[in-house]
Symmetry: C2
Subunit: 130 residues, 2 copies
DNA sequence: CTTAGCGTACTAGAAGCGTGTGACACTCCG
DNA sequence: CGGAGTGTCACACGCTTCTAGTACGCTAAG
């Protein structure tokens, strides 16, 4: 389904789960009222301990994305879409910001940095204003 | 001087030291034959343990950027400039690549991603801070 | 030779992560 | 009611990584 976990990544597994759920809701894959997979199901599917999944779900609940329905599952909240849109932008933006700040502080020329960025995104459309 | 360490960062301190030395040499701040600050001096200045600095120096030696001169210090190698230029591009490129890949997989539109990038690089158009 | 500074090696502590186990309260359905 | 499924909690264990503490051997200068 919609999970792509990298156990060898320096980013903790539970953190990866959090992000992917957020991204999935933001992209419209899950709507308010839906139940996300249970800790045991998801744990089995990702070959991860249910406790690890539960840790991710706890974080999602803290963010207000889901609410625990004891005995039923984790339900996507009405505000989830809005929250996830913000979260997605914030998380992605932070990563990009850090990478670009490091690039600038490394002494690389703006030209070089722009080239590196273009290598990844350049295909999608032509040219930005300058 | 030329170090800017963030102890709270998820990136280990020794790794930050490695990068900053590489960036500094790549930018021409240190030339072949120069001695970089000693583990104790640098440790005192950054308020980290000399061993942490030594770990960073060991990595730099493994990369061929410096050679240990027992009893004297760590000396910048003749090839350091070339190696550091490559390393800088590789390290910066990797960070940018990862950030942009995550951005794409999050479902953000190419438009949005471009906007986020512009927010960081837009100001330095045609001109680099230095 | 003595001394001070250098890098190095070994060891120990601390923190984070993932796993494992067991138990509990709740809800749904037969 | 009873069983199966759900989230939750507490505890412990092993593992890895990072950092700190300490001591040692080397080199250059006096």
């Amino acid at each position: 389904m919609w999970f792509n976990i990298h156990p060898e990544s320096p980013i903790p597994i539970f953190e990866q789960i959090v992000s992917q759920v957020i991204f999935n809701i933001a992209a419209g894959g899950l709507a308010a009222g839906d139940l996300i997979p249970s800790v045991r199901d998801l744990g089995r599917e990702l070959t991860v301990h249910p406790n690890t999944v539960a840790k991710a779900f706890g974080e999602l609940e803290r963010l207000g994305v889901v609410t625990a329905r004891r005995g039923r599952g984790m339900e996507v909240t009405p505000d989830a879409a809005k929250i996830c849109h913000l979260q997605r932008r914030e998380r992605v933006g932070k990563r990009i910001r850090e990478a670009l700040r490091e690039a600038v502080s490394s002494g690389l020329s703006a030209e070089e940095i722009r080239r590196l960025v273009e290598e990844e995104t350049g295909r999608s459309n032509g040219r930005r204003r300058e």
